[in-house]
């Protein structure tokens, strides 16, 4: 019981920090609400899809910006997609970085886009590692026989 208690406290702290630091927004809470005993892996599954999809998008974006000349319409389309998916899981800072990126696309600024891409990558890998840690904690709690309370 002590082990579970400790793990649950860690989980609560981690989750609260993610919201406090603005890495996650209300949409992530919506996803947590959709998880129940009949759909116990829902959040993990969505997050996993997001990671996979995002890494493909980042590859495409990197490739597209290396082209000469840059097809800003294509780049913008990818960023739009990325903005959408990050918004859907509540990855707020990734989404915000995408908004800035789109502005650079509109301005057709190659340097601006390069920097924006770096920022998006930075935010993505940050939320990825934090979410992986969160999901791992949840697995540990379940393995120890505990339950995952819904925490805001």
């Amino acid at each position: 019981m002590d082990v579970i208690g400790r793990l649950q406290r860690q989980r609560t702290e981690l989750t609260q920090a993610l919201f406090k630091e603005g890495l996650l927004d209300e949409q992530f809470t919506q996803l947590q609400l959709l998880q129940d005993p009949n759909n116990p892996d829902f959040v993990a599954e969505v997050v996993s899809l997001f990671f996979e999809d995002s890494e493909k998008l980042l590859d495409e974006l990197t490739r597209s910006l290396e082209q000469d000349p840059v097809d800003y319409k294509k780049v913008d389309a990818y960023v739009h997609q990325f903005k959408g998916s990050s918004s859907s899981i509540g990855a707020q800072r990734v989404k915000n970085a995408c908004v800035i990126f789109r502005t650079c696309c509109e301005e057709r600024s190659q340097e601006g886009c390069r920097q924006a891409l770096q920022q998006v990558k930075h935010e993505f890998f940050l939320i990825k590692s934090r979410l992986e840690a969160l999901l791992q904690l949840e697995q540990q709690i379940l393995a120890a026989g505990g339950t995952i309370p819904f925490m805001e």
Partner: protein, 198 residues
């Protein structure tokens, strides 16, 4: 005749529902077709819809949606809606064919035009929204779609079912009232169509 097809569909659904449904007996089996090119959004909308509705089919393009609806090129209108779709919820921005184009195709088809169509978009563009509503979309939801958006959708389905069956079933009326009472004080950004269902 669209009306006859729908009445028969409703009857079949009710029969099926009483045999197979995990919902309350007598509740019609509601089938929602979700269209979105984003795999993440499809997963989320599927789960959201399943909290309220019994059956969800999700496809990744408007062209696939047309296949499900039975009106891809070459099919006669009489095969339309063999999968008995009660509502279509579609993303606006999709490659090849937009949600707006899909809406138009549905509304142009005698066998399908009564199906309520809801459009989703991450972008709040007033002209876009107006265009969709004018074309017959019941609602335009700004993404990300949330639970309270989905709870509201039941109303459109019930309206369509009541209209088509021609019978004011007291149980369905109860569900409609139940849907209305779930409207929360803080409304999510959504634009309700101006058309009133008779």
């Amino acid at each position: 005749m669209a009306r006859t097809n729908y009445s028969r569909t409703l009857e079949t659904n009710l029969q099926n529902a009483s045999q197979h449904s995990s919902h309350a007996p007598g509740t019609p089996e509601i089938h929602v077709l979700a269209v979105d090119d984003s795999i993440i959004d499809r997963k989320v909308i599927e789960r959201l819809l399943k909290t309220s509705f019994y059956k969800v089919t999700s496809v990744d393009s408007a062209l696939r949606a047309l296949e499900v609806l039975g009106i891809e090129d070459g099919h006669s209108p009489s095969t339309a809606n063999n999968f008995e779709v009660n509502m279509i919820i579609t993303d606006y921005c999709m490659p090849e064919m937009t949600g707006y184009d899909l809406l138009k195709k549905v509304k142009e088809n005698a066998g399908l035009k009564e199906i309520p169509v809801v459009i989703m978009s991450s972008e709040n563009v007033p002209t876009r929204i107006e265009r969709c509503l004018e074309e017959g979309a019941k609602e335009f939801i700004i993404k990300p779609v949330q639970l309270e958006d989905v709870k509201r959708l039941g109303e459109h389905i019930m309206n369509a079912m009541n209209k088509n069956s021609g019978v004011a079933c007291s149980k369905r009326k109860l569900e409609l009232e139940d849907c209305q009472s779930r409207k929360s004080a803080n409304r999510r950004p959504h634009i309700r169509g101006l058309r009133v269902i008779a």
